[in-house]
């Protein structure tokens, strides 16, 4: 069964350093999402791509976060500089189309700890 791949699974960094996370969605899925899940809370959307275009980044802290999906396949989320409050699980999800009824398939996540 096809899965969403993410790496690394765990990342420990010091504040003010740069970090990057990678996501490879299920083959053929046009829509890709990055969510952030703070401990004890539900995931919250950071950015949504339709193919290579950003369709929603209203909750992305653009002063330090950036995301790209250059060829409309895999995606990278970057934080520079990292802050203590960025410690969280970063989840990538993909769906076949952008329809509100489409099932989103989630990867295992990257757990970020900022010291």
């Amino acid at each position: 069964e096809a899965e969403v791949a993410q790496s690394p699974r765990y990342k420990i960094t010091e504040k003010s350093q740069a970090v990057a996370f990678w996501c490879d969605p299920i083959s053929g899925h046009a829509t890709l999402y990055w969510y952030r899940q703070i401990l004890g809370q539900g995931p919250e959307l950071l950015v949504q791509f339709q193919d290579e275009s950003v369709v929603d980044d209203s909750q992305l802290p653009k002063d330090r976060f950036s995301a790209e999906r250059l060829k409309g396949v895999d995606s990278t989320l970057k934080i520079q500089p990292a802050e203590l409050g960025d410690s969280a699980m970063y989840l990538c999800a993909s769906s076949l189309t952008s329809g509100a009824t489409d099932t989103q398939y989630f990867g295992p996540g990257t757990r970020l700890t900022v010291l």
Binding site: Q41, P43, A93, A100, P108
Partner: protein
């Protein structure tokens, strides 16, 4: 804006007992409702979803949820739980025209022998 409330952060229950995990939502437009499950050290997996039609939806592992529009609820139930059901359960909603999911804060189901 849409929002989801899961009233119980933790639900302890004995094996083979029934369980209900509560979910309420608010939205000004039509919504689609989802329950996701997160087992320890794994990603979120879709458990079941309500899109339209029958208000009672079922999963393959015995869970069911009922959409109640008047009470804006989508509670998850199982008549008899197993140890393997121990996990965190998230209720989520998407609105027509907005594809991303809005999640509740999750309910940790702890099934005890």
């Amino acid at each position: 804006a849409q929002s989801v409330t899961q009233l119980d952060s933790q639900v302890p229950v004995f094996e083979e007992a029934p369980v209900e995990l509560r979910c309420n939502y608010s939205s000004s437009v039509s919504v689609y409702l989802f329950w996701y499950v997160q087992y320890p050290n794994q990603g979120l997996q879709l458990l079941l979803k309500y899109l339209s039609g029958s208000t009672l939806v079922e999963s393959i592992n015995g869970f069911e949820a009922e959409f109640n529009k008047s009470q804006t609820s989508f509670h998850l139930r199982k008549p008899s739980v197993h140890i393997s059901d121990t996990a965190e359960y998230f209720c989520a909603v998407s609105e027509t025209g907005r594809r991303a999911l809005t999640f509740g804060s999750g309910t940790r189901l702890q099934v005890q022998p």
